[in-house]
């Protein structure tokens, strides 16, 4: 499921611009726009770009919103829940900040160059233009109107962002892409429903005026990737071609992690999907004539299953979202097509959970720790702006009896076999005190194996990549040169950047056609 012509997909971060509120938005917003932010943004603009101001001045259709527009109403408020009941058109005191992902023309060869919105782009934008000052406490408009390609992790990142801001009573608004494919992508992937479930309000409430008009006009039209199906009892519903792709909400507080895991993995166990994955992921090193492996099964039965179980086991996790996307191969960056799976949960981070265990004097090692030699070559990079300010390198080995209890090292250590915040769980300790305790504490007879299962499949079997983001840390893990060795790069974003709440796990699995097969 891709949302752009593969040959046109670009992997370079989008041009970024931040601006004060445009004309047509409440007057005081324009007047009080933070000039320093504007200047900073302008300095990064390509000379070939039209300015947003200019665009708006020459385009009457961008003029604003009626007085009843919810975004205007909210911008006018001080963004507290209590103020939401204020009447429309009230006095405006605070600016709305804009993040713009904009189309531009590539200067060197003048080929069309399309913006791509992914988690990294949003992360960079946030750090650069919002989080550095008190702007983060104001209503924010994320303008995706010029985006031509949206990666699914962007939706997860925005989900986490909206969720966090909502819990702090801060408003987040969107200008949706104008390009049809990206527009359809957002609707097919159920982003509106996701935001709606988080905010408890209709999605149009979080939309900028022009987008809102289009959204409302399109509301009864099925997006590109869906088709209607008749319900047995009458009526129709929309059937996304492959349900495993869209943003799927997960209830993680039911007391039964298996329930959430079954729910999430079921679409991946669909017979046709398993067969397709079998064709694309078959382990050719084991090809035995006449035999079929179960590589396709493993995406659902192991990778998605363990990722959701892991999320559900995070303390305080109540909600999660899982989504995926097939990203086509890119001749420009020479990247192969890949299956991307992402899961975000709102629980305590992996490292904090382990650290809490250690600080209470407990062990994080189960019997399985150290049974297999595993080596992680870790590079920790601290960045300041684009420059690398500090670089550390360290090797973590499964023979170590102690692990440095700092965030990055504990995050990596969680991927060792046998490292768990509840390493002693076993049948003998199972009791029927409560549903929650009895199931979540005993989910795994040999604790600390879930992330290992994921690592073994995604990295060792399929030669993919695992990315894990939490707080200010952005970790990327790939296979190392030797058996059971792994290369880990962790970027530490400055404290001023947005600390991603919860845990965002992203898995990238390269797709390849089995020997003898054809596309």
């Amino acid at each position: 499921m891709e949302n752009s012509d593969p040959s046109r997909v670009q992997s370079v971060a989008a041009h970024v611009r931040c601006s004060a509120a445009p004309e047509g938005w409440p007057r005081s917003e324009r007047q009080s726009g933070r000039s320093s932010t504007v200047r900073s943004a302008s300095a990064h603009m390509s000379p070939n770009n039209r300015s947003i101001e200019g665009d708006r001045n020459t385009n009457p259709s961008r003029v604003p919103a009626s007085e009843t527009c919810p975004i205007q109403r909210q911008a006018a408020s001080t963004a507290t829940k209590a103020d939401r009941s204020k009447p429309c058109g009230g006095s405006v005191t605070e600016p709305v900040h804009l993040i713009v992902l904009e189309r531009r023309v590539r200067i060197d060869d003048l080929l069309p160059y399309y913006s791509r919105a992914d988690g990294l782009a949003i992360d960079n934008l946030w750090q650069k233009y919002i989080a550095a000052d008190e702007s983060a406490t104001l209503p924010v408009l994320i303008d995706l109107s010029h985006v031509r390609f949206i990666a699914h992790d962007c939706l997860l990142f925005l989900t986490a962002l909206v969720r966090e801001r909502e819990s702090a009573s801060l408003e987040t608004f969107f200008e949706l892409p104008s390009a049809d494919n990206a527009w359809n992508f957002i609707r097919s992937w159920k982003f509106p429903e996701c935001v709606q479930s988080i905010t408890g309000r209709s999605f149009e409430y979080n939309l900028a005026p022009k987008t809102r008009e289009r959204y409302l006009a399109d509301r009864n039209v099925l997006p590109q990737y869906t088709s209607p199906i008749d319900l047995p009892g009458g009526g129709t519903t929309e059937d996304f071609l492959r349900k495993q792709f869209q943003l799927m909400p997960l209830r993680l507080d039911l007391g039964n992690p298996l329930r959430a895991a079954t729910f999430a993995s079921a679409p991946w166990m669909d017979l046709h999907m398993r067969t397709v994955l079998d064709v694309f992921l078959r382990d050719q090193s084991l090809s035995t004539e006449g035999d079929t492996t179960n590589a396709g099964d493993r995406v659902g039965s192991t990778v998605v299953m363990e990722a959701v179980l892991n999320a559900a086991m995070h303390p305080a996790a109540k909600t999660g979202y899982i989504t995926s996307q097939i990203v086509p191969d890119n001749p420009f960056s020479k990247t192969a097509s890949s299956l991307e799976i992402g899961i975000w949960d709102d629980g305590t981070s992996i490292a904090d959970t382990l650290r809490e265990r250690l600080s209470s004097g407990g062990s994080i090692f189960s019997d399985s720790y150290g049974l297999v030699d595993e080596i992680f070559e870790v590079e920790l990079i601290r960045t300041r702006g684009r420059a690398v300010s500090q670089r550390f390198e360290r090797t973590l080995h499964s023979s170590q009896e102690e692990i440095d209890a700092h965030f990055p090292w504990l995050t990596v250590a969680a991927f060792f076999a046998g490292v768990s915040a509840i390493p002693e769980r076993s049948t003998s300790g199972a009791t029927r005190n409560s549903i929650t305790a009895k199931i979540s504490d005993d989910i795994d007879g040999r604790a600390g194996m879930g992330l290992r299962y994921i690592r073994r499949h995604v990295l060792d079997l399929w030669d993919g990549e695992i990315r894990y983001w939490s707080g200010h840390y952005r970790m990327s893990m790939t296979k190392g040169n030797a058996e059971n060795s792994y290369r880990v790069v962790i970027q530490y974003r400055p404290e001023s950047s947005w600390p991603l709440q919860g845990n965002l796990l992203m898995l990238s699995i390269p797709l390849r056609i089995a020997q003898g097969g054809k596309r």
Partner: protein, 562 residues
């Protein structure tokens, strides 16, 4: 040469594959001697019973001091059926096999599996580890092997193993039959049927395998399929089968003709032929069910005339009517249509009961708005339509209640559920499972233990269906234990303890005064220290308010029976 056998299954599908007797027989054929020891492990998918595994590991070590010993491990079941089953199995086998290889003198350890493991699985690592001298060999159900290649003796043993085919899976066991009044549009009229069949997930893989075989054998270039009156399972299975064949490099096009007009169908087939770049040699038509040949005829009518010269057809289901009516050609049925005959292969034959529109069930279903049109498989089995239960009671008959719990008179009019067949037992069991899963978000099929009384009424067939077809663990408790006359045997006590972390449900065929349900709860509590998580029955005849779920309920007007 001596041997030992070890059978490993998740507790919820302990019936799948070879029985312990089959395994023993296989070991005898391989080694020419009866096995010295036969062990069995029923593991829990949520957690491994490490104590049990350690005990078995010690026993294996004790018996394996001879260099001429063979350990035959049967782990041949569908891992996709039970959540997290593959991870658990790999973990258990690593513990058992790994220790056996290092600590014992086995000549060979043969592990029978449904599919070969992947190279990241611990079992595969052990088999491919040169340090193990090829003593470990893994054999998949279709004869592929891993490991063991360096050892001549092992190869001979594997050859013997492969000479004995794996037990065939009975597809009928994996099909769920819904009861109700199902309507389908026939030529100029509506046809009504009493049953509707839907393959369970386990059978889809088998159906796919058979379809792949048929497509691969045929020389067709285009596969046409018609999903009318079939659930998503049909499209999913045909798509998967074609994808698998295409994955081997064969040029094959699929055309879904469901709901297409003749002209649209022409366009679709023409587009496929154009992609092919030459005239299609032959077409394969796949339909969900063959009864009177209506769907077949309707589809053939829509295919361009110049392409209809060579059409083969496959139907997943064939009704008993079709099998009795159409002429047989080898395993296929010759269905006449439009002056021609089409050979239709079929995979599963099932009984169909046609209802006339004057049948009381059709009339009642119409009055109750329970006539089902379209795709019934989209609906969960629970809640069951009233008409379905009435038709079941009509079939099994109504008589005086027997057996009757002590302390109350028998009910005069009582459905004789002891007489239900396997189909209906499976359907009622699925209704119960769906009721449980619907009521409790914290439950999960693989982590359920259903505790039932063991009696000669409907509980017997329903408990068998739950255990053998619904992928849940079941514990049946005899009446004398429920009445407190005797103690729960150790094995049953252990089973309850092992499942104490699961979702435990006390379930009975019927409940009048709830005394049996209370007794079930008392037994569970005496072992695990807590009540079951849920209680339910097929029929609730009591005052109400006690059960968490029932499939049907009513208040009897005539209670008395001397």
């Amino acid at each position: 040469m001596t041997s030992s056998t070890l059978r490993i299954r998740p507790s919820s599908i302990s019936h799948q594959g070879r029985s312990p007797e089959d395994l023993s027989y296989l070991a005898t054929l391989i080694t020419s001697y009866t096995p010295e020891m036969e062990l069995s492990v029923e593991y829990l998918p949520i957690e491994t019973d490490s104590t049990q595994i350690a005990e078995i590991s010690d026993l294996i070590e004790f018996l394996s001091d001879s260099e001429q010993s063979v350990l035959l491990i049967d782990a041949d079941f569908d891992q996709a059926l039970v959540i997290r089953s593959g991870q658990r199995l790999d973990d258990i086998l690593r513990q058992l096999v790994g220790e056996s290889l290092y600590r014992t003198e086995f000549l060979a350890i043969i592990v029978l599996v449904r599919k070969l493991p992947l190279r990241v699985d611990d079992l595969a690592e052990l088999a491919l580890d040169p340090k193990n001298d090829g003593r470990l060999v893994i054999v998949s159900q279709n004869g592929a092997t891993m490991g063991g290649l360096s050892n001549l003796n092992t190869s001979v043993l594997v050859k013997h193993t492969l000479a004995v085919p794996a037990p065939k899976v009975d597809l009928l066991r994996e099909v769920l039959r819904f009861r109700g009044v199902f309507a389908s549009e026939g030529p100029g009229r509506t046809n009504y049927h009493l049953f509707h069949y839907v393959p369970a997930p386990a059978s889809l893989d088998i159906i796919k395998r058979k379809l792949v075989g048929l497509i691969a054998q045929s020389e067709c270039d285009i596969v046409l399929f018609d999903c009318s009156n079939a659930g998503p399972w049909f499209r999913q299975t045909v798509d998967a089968s074609c994808t698998q064949v295409q994955g081997t490099g064969r040029e094959l096009y699929t055309v879904d003709v469901t709901g297409l007009t003749q002209q649209e169908c022409h366009h679709q087939v023409a587009a496929a032929t154009e992609s092919l770049g030459r005239p299609a040699d032959s077409l394969l038509l796949v339909i969900p069910a063959l009864h009177q040949g209506t769907t077949l005829g309707r589809t053939v009518n829509r295919i361009p005339q110049d392409l209809t010269t060579n059409i083969d057809a496959v139907s997943v289901f064939a009704s008993n009517y079709a099998i009795e009516t159409f002429e047989h050609h080898d395993s296929a049925l010759a269905v006449p249509y439009g002056g021609r005959q089409f050979l239709v292969d079929f995979l599963i034959d099932v009984p169909i009961e046609v209802l006339s529109r004057h049948d009381w069930k059709v009339t009642a279903a119409s009055m109750l708005d329970e006539v089902v049109t379209g795709d019934y498989s989209q609906h969960p089995p629970f809640p069951a339509p009233q008409i379905a239960l009435w038709s079941l009671f009509e079939k099994v008959g109504i008589s005086e209640e027997d057996p009757v719990p002590t302390g109350r008179p028998a009910k005069r009019y009582f459905p004789n559920l002891g007489a239900i067949d396997e189909w209906d037992a499976h359907w009622l069991a699925e209704c119960a499972i769906n009721a449980i899963l619907e009521s409790s978000p914290a439950s999960n099929r693989a982590a359920l233990l259903i505790v039932m009384p063991s009696e000669r009424n409907g509980t017997m067939p329903i408990s068998l269906a739950l255990e053998n077809k619904c992928d849940v663990a079941v514990l049946t408790i005899p009446r004398e234990i429920l009445s407190g006359q005797s103690e729960l045997p150790d094995d049953d006590r252990k089973k309850l303890v092992r499942h104490q972390a699961d979702f435990i449900v006390a379930f009975d065929e019927s409940a009048v005064t709830y005394s049996t349900i209370d007794s079930l709860c008392r037994v569970v509590k005496s072992v695990v220290g807590d009540d079951p998580d849920m209680v339910g029955a097929v029929i609730d005849l009591g005052p109400g308010g006690k059960l968490d779920f029932s499939i049907t309920s009513w208040k009897a007007l005539s209670e008395v029976s001397a």
